[in-house]
């Protein structure tokens, strides 16, 4: 039912454009023109931003728009003929390019320094969030869920993790304890830690549930810079009276 509503919305919004498509009957005619291959569905071609007559940029899948007139966006929406479920979401990552997820922020414990051979706790602050905008000319929302965390630690090591991690306090563990997102530096030195967070998108038009979109959007977080120093040096350089946040204070 949702898909019929969607069709109605688009038909009302772009009444002249449906005629430009190849809809009508459960046909596979649009396979060569839009890449939509139906699986028992009706292909409805909606466009936005262009004149009534469809334009194009020639064969192939390269980007770009027609030489004359504004760019035309084709989108084939599969409306179920029978009892088949919507299947793969018809909206792709390129359709939601104007929706941008909020980048996450990474932190570390201790803050800015650590000791070789001990666990340094890295964690990210990010969460599921919804961005509103316009999709195919209609008000729509895109929900971004952080699903992958790619840390490179600057020492030649990297980790792809499914969790954003948390502080030692939140995890209820002690300082320098191992966490799912901690890392041990073997050698002294200055390192830059980079984090890229993968966001899994889902979209919805007003009143409909969220539908997942295939793929993820990788987005860099802030860089961190760390000094890894010998334990002896670190411990004698800090005076708790002078630096209450120093190690062991």
């Amino acid at each position: 039912m949702v898909w019929h509503k969607l069709l109605l919305i688009l038909a009302l919004a772009v009444p002249t454009l449906l005629g430009a498509g190849l809809g009508g009957g459960c046909a596979s005619a649009s396979e060569l023109t839009t890449g939509c291959i139906n699986g028992g569905g009706v292909d409805v071609i909606a466009t936005s931003g262009g004149p009534g007559s469809p334009g194009g940029s020639g064969s192939g899948a390269s980007g770009g728009s027609a030489a004359s007139g504004p760019p035309v966006i084709w989108k084939c929406l599969q409306v179920t003929c029978g009892s088949e479920s919507p299947g793969a979401a018809p909206i792709t990552l390129s359709d939601i390019a104007s929706f941008r997820p909020n980048p996450g922020v990474q932190y570390m414990q201790p803050d800015g320094w650590t000791v070789p051979g001990l666990d340094t706790n890295f964690y990210a602050v990010t969460d599921v969030h919804v961005v509103d905008g316009t999709l195919l000319g209609q008000p729509a929302s895109v929900r971004f869920t952080p699903v992958g965390f790619h840390w490179t630690y600057g020492d030649g090591k990297a980790a792809n993790l499914p969790t954003k991690g948390a502080t030692w306090q939140t995890l209820g563990v002690g300082e320098f304890d191992s966490t799912p997102t901690s890392h041990i530096y073997a050698n002294e030195g200055e390192y830059t830690i980079r984090l890229v967070i993968d966001f899994a998108p889902a979209y919805r038009f007003a009143g409909s549930p969220f539908y997942p979109i295939a793929g993820v959007i990788p987005l860099p977080a802030n860089d961190l810079h760390i000094t890894v120093d010998g334990a002896k040096t670190v411990l004698v350089e800090h005076d708790c009276a002078v630096n209450p946040t120093g190690p062991g204070c």
């Binding site: 190849l22 009508g24 009957g25 459960c26 046909a27 596979s28 005619a29 649009s30 396979e31 060569l32 023109t33 839009t34 890449g35 939509c36 291959i37 139906n38 699986g39 028992g40 469809p54 334009g55 194009g56 940029s57 020639g58 064969s59 192939g60 899948a61 390269s62 980007g63 770009g64 728009s65 760019p71 035309v72 966006i73 084709w74 989108k75 299947g87 793969a88 792709t92 390129s94």
Partner: protein, 144 residues
């Protein structure tokens, strides 16, 4: 009917290849007479192609270049007894070289059309000879 999965895949590839040759030639003729699809297609696949050809022909569209396919593999082989078999294969359909133009020779192809698509194609011989009866986009992870 088939001695091995390799034999089944070979038969499926041969049939799909013949269908592809016919489909390309038909498109290049402006989808004038699609009845020849009956030799390669049955059921839903035949209906889809006949409807599609009619829609494209009525608008005066014409195909330029050939669709090709590659990366075939057997997904499932079923024997229903009494000599009826069903083969489901995966393949990658490639439209990189294909354009569709209108009467004025202007391309009507969407810039967003993917060049390669993962397809799931089912064939059976319930009508006597092996024919394609379903040809769907594979909704799982792309293997193309």
């Amino acid at each position: 009917m088939f001695a091995s999965e390799e034999d089944a895949l070979a038969a499926a590839e041969e049939l799909y290849g013949e269908y592809q040759v016919f489909s390309n030639a038909l498109g290049q003729s402006g989808w004038a007479d699609p009845t020849g699809f009956q030799e390669y297609l049955s059921g839903d696949a035949l209906e889809d192609e006949l409807d599609g050809a009619e829609a494209l022909n009525s608008k005066g569209y014409r195909q330029v270049g050939d669709t090709t396919f590659d990366t075939t593999s057997v997904q499932q082989l079923a024997d229903f007894g009494s000599g009826t078999v069903e083969i489901t294969i995966y393949l990658c359909s490639d439209v990189t070289a294909v354009d569709v133009v209108d009467r004025d020779g202007i391309s009507i192809v969407s810039a967003a059309r993917p060049a390669r698509q993962s397809l799931e194609v089912t064939m059976n011989d319930s009508e006597g000879s092996l024919k394609i009866n379903r040809r769907d986009a594979w909704s799982g992870t792309s293997f193309c």
